[in-house]
Subunit: 192 residues, 2 copies
Amino acid sequence: MSIDYLIAYFKQFFPLNEADITALSTSFTARNIKRRQFILQQDDVCKYYSFVISGCFKTYGVDLKGAEHNLQFTIANDWVTDLTSFYDEKPSKLYIEAIEPSVILQIKKADLLHLFIHYPTFDRNFRIITERKYIALQERILSNISTTAQDRYLGFLSQYPELARRLPNTQIASYLGITPEFLSRIRKQIIK
Amino acid sequence: MSIDYLIAYFKQFFPLNEADITALSTSFTARNIKRRQFILQQDDVCKYYSFVISGCFKTYGVDLKGAEHNLQFTIANDWVTDLTSFYDEKPSKLYIEAIEPSVILQIKKADLLHLFIHYPTFDRNFRIITERKYIALQERILSNISTTAQDRYLGFLSQYPELARRLPNTQIASYLGITPEFLSRIRKQIIK
DNA sequence: CGAAAATTTGACATGACTCAACTGGAGTGG
DNA sequence: CCACTCCAGTTGAGTCATGTCAAATTTTCG
């Protein structure tokens, strides 16, 4: 059962008792997502906090010219949602789309709040999870404001070698904030 | 007493009972910081999670050429620390330096963990605080990878008008990831 | 007041984008 | 199995965004 992956995941951070595990199992719903399927589209309210069991998603915004800009990729054992839209129930500015056939576990806002209120371990778990993701974003910002596109690409390769293997370069270019053409030139440069 | 500011701050998110308030008061220490004084230097372990009562700080990294890159500014009613260094007790890669004479409240790791264990409301409060800061970073990344330097500057002006007034442009340029010279040209351009 | 830092400006160099054309797979349907 | 399309990737030429360095000027703060 895919819920077992989630239980194992939480146990990395803190032990769960029987009641916690039962609460988890009844709060999350498994869902299969096809390639190119959206779990969130712009202007919709983000109804779910999703945990990826397998597959891969991209979260992106679309600018005035219609160009996509990848905010993040999410693979197994990680979370994906639009926090603002999810908590404040406001229309999202983002898209979340499956890049590969995927399996996810989803929880609704009401159920998550219920977990937080009745099972305090989840306040702690999600605090820690968010802190770790916050740190990763800080590092990405530092890299964005302080290094060249080539260095950001090399950093991406060494930090996410698996993503680099699974994703088309076009998607990586969008994540790095450069054009696919320029990434192609960077790759040519690196080979030498 | 500066601790009252912190209590009022937490009450924005969730009510605090008497025990919570007592615990807060005994866990945090007030400290006056001079302009240009550091509360964290590279290679030191970050010993404190700090809440700013008044004044202003910059958090920055230094690259191989010795150039500073501002990761964030922190003013009254906000938190500043190096999370990785603080929790994992590893040497920091960052500096945190007062830009103005400042007053802060600091808590040590052991005391914060004590709060988390005995007063569950703080797990929740810090979860929510970190979630909000995470969202802000996401928006900054999207802006970094999808817009021009001029648009980022205009966005900074409208999002942080107070910071724009208090900070020298050099510091803002570093935050935006551009040179002071180029920011000067952008400003000239905007005036027209 | 005086030193140090911030800002501006000019000339030039380089990083990165745009557009258009071409190449080479990876499906898809016959 | 072939012909076809479609999309990712590459390449070239030209352009625009941004950086570098140096110098002059203004502002800030001790």
